[in-house]
């Protein structure tokens, strides 16, 4: 059984169900990518794992424990970290303060974790006294990922981390995400850039209209004729 698993999730934001019997899972030291066309419910499925959705059915388990009834804040305290797609940094605060806020729940010494994040994203160290709102899109994403990593999570969830950044910055970000994975963290990621994302994925989920269409390794999905034709543009 996987470290984090959402099984047969069904629900929406109050009205009609957006995801139906949707199953997502990820293991430690693994990258799982959720891809699919616009409106497929990719972000919604991820938010369901974090408890930001009214679920009508299904269970979410973290390390074998049922966490379906927990609030998002409780799940964060349990080691789940989330980087939203939009508004994912404190724009009026410095880079360093953003990282400090990420570690708000921790009462121990955070300087070591902060050093690790500066090692992972060296540009943040040089900009650490700068206000996050003044940074470029790619640098902001690094702050956002850094903030999420400050809790020393076991699961990192990213909602379209490369939205609106240049291809070069995207490659750079993916490299960093692989590095994070190697430190033994489970990574679940929703991506628009399906081909590049599946390239680095250990596992891929193709969602269509809120349901699982294909689930396989990243490599196999890239090789799959039907997936290529329908979702990767040939």
């Amino acid at each position: 059984m996987s470290y984090l698993i959402g099984e047969k999730l069904t629900g929406g934001y109050g009205g009609a169900d957006i995801i139906k019997d949707c199953t997502l899972s990820v293991d430690k030291g693994e990258i799982a990518v959720v891809v699919g066309p616009n409106g497929a419910g990719k972000s919604t499925a991820m938010k369901a794992l974090l408890g930001m959705l009214n679920l009508r059915g299904g269970t979410v388990k973290l390390d074998g424990r049922d966490i379906t009834g927990m609030s998002p804040q409780q799940r964060v305290a349990q080691g789940m970290a989330f980087v939203p797609q939009n508004k994912n940094v404190f724009v009026s605060m410095t880079v360093e303060e953003n990282l400090e806020m990420g570690a708000f729940l921790r009462r121990d010494d955070i300087t070591e974790t902060m050093e690790q994040i500066y090692d992972l994203f060296p540009i943040l160290k040089t900009k650490r006294r700068q206000v996050a709102g003044e940074l470029s899109g790619g640098q902001r994403q690094q702050v956002a990922v850094g903030r999420a990593l400050m809790t020393q999570p076991s699961v990192l969830m990213l909602d379209e981390p490369t939205a609106g950044v240049s291809p070069i910055v995207m490659d750079e970000l993916f490299d960093r995400i692989i590095e994070v994975k190697r430190s033994g963290i489970a990574i679940l990621m929703v991506e628009q850039n399906a081909r590049q994302a599946l390239d680095i994925a250990d596992k891929g989920f193709v969602l269509v209209t809120g349901e699982n269409r294909f689930t396989d390794t990243g490599e196999a999905l890239l090789a799959n004729e039907e997936v290529r034709k329908s979702f990767l543009g040939g």
Binding site: P72, Q73, A77, V89, S92, M93, E97, M101, G102, F104
Partner: protein, 340 residues
Amino acid sequence: MDYSTDLLNALVLITNYVLIPSISYGSQLALGAVGVTLVFGILRFANFAHGEMMAFGTMATIFITWWFQSMGVSMGVFPTALLALPFAILITTLLAVVIDRSIFSFYRTRKSPPVTFVVASVGVMFMLNGLVRILIGTDEIIFRDGQKFLIKAGAFKKMTGLSEGLALKQTQVLTFVLAVIAVMALFWFLQRTRTGKAMRAFSDNEDLALLSGINPERVVLVTWVIAASLATLAGVLYGLDKSFKPMVYFHLLLPIFAAAIVGGIGQPLGAILGGYVVAFSEITATYAFKKFIKYISHGDFAPEGLTQFLTTEYKFAVSFLILVLVLLVRPTGLLRGKVL
């Protein structure tokens, strides 16, 4: 008399009637406006009850001052009210927290839109308004004691030989010094402490603050403690400098809101700036420049009228005018706050 003496007289005149009053009035408005802006930044609504919170805090201070005076406790040259202030702050903070728990938290859990909060705060305003009038009455109360002047106009004239006098009241200096200390303490708190940073984070991006594990109820509690403390301080300083009258405190709401909006709502630094802008404009616009013009023109030109833009009865028009101008020209305020 030579021209340089005339210029000195003009300078003393302006300092005495515009500069010093503006700085002390501006400091009082600034303290009020910072409270309004903090509540707006964290709870995301314009708190109409802030002026009444100032009145309540001042009333509490007056009662405790009277009690101290009846027991013969005093602070010598300083007003006894300063001794009563910490206790009044405690009482007002308690009131603010009780109001939040019993009224505003109800709408928070329902996730009501900001306009509901504003209307609820108007209700709180009327409630406190009545409470203060029932408890202490509607009359003007002067509760200042101790030494009134640091520099007396007559003594200044004798000392300098100028025909214009300069008076400096102790309350004016107290206002400025206490305002500076309070603001510095507030900024230190917001910039350096864990709770202060959490407040800024919450104001900046509520969802992300929640995802970071910041406890919203705690942030709200601390905000009310600070807002109530600043409101009490502002109210007491205003009352010491002038006098306490419930109606006047009700009217203070307008220049305070103007100050908060001029500076950029949600920006504490802007609120301070706004406080001085409003105070200077109000006092300058209602000052009669007749004598000043006579001095700087060396007596060659003496206007027949008072050369006053507005009579003091119309001083609130200045706040309105500034408010309208800012909302038309730069709705985010001088320091780019949130748009109301």
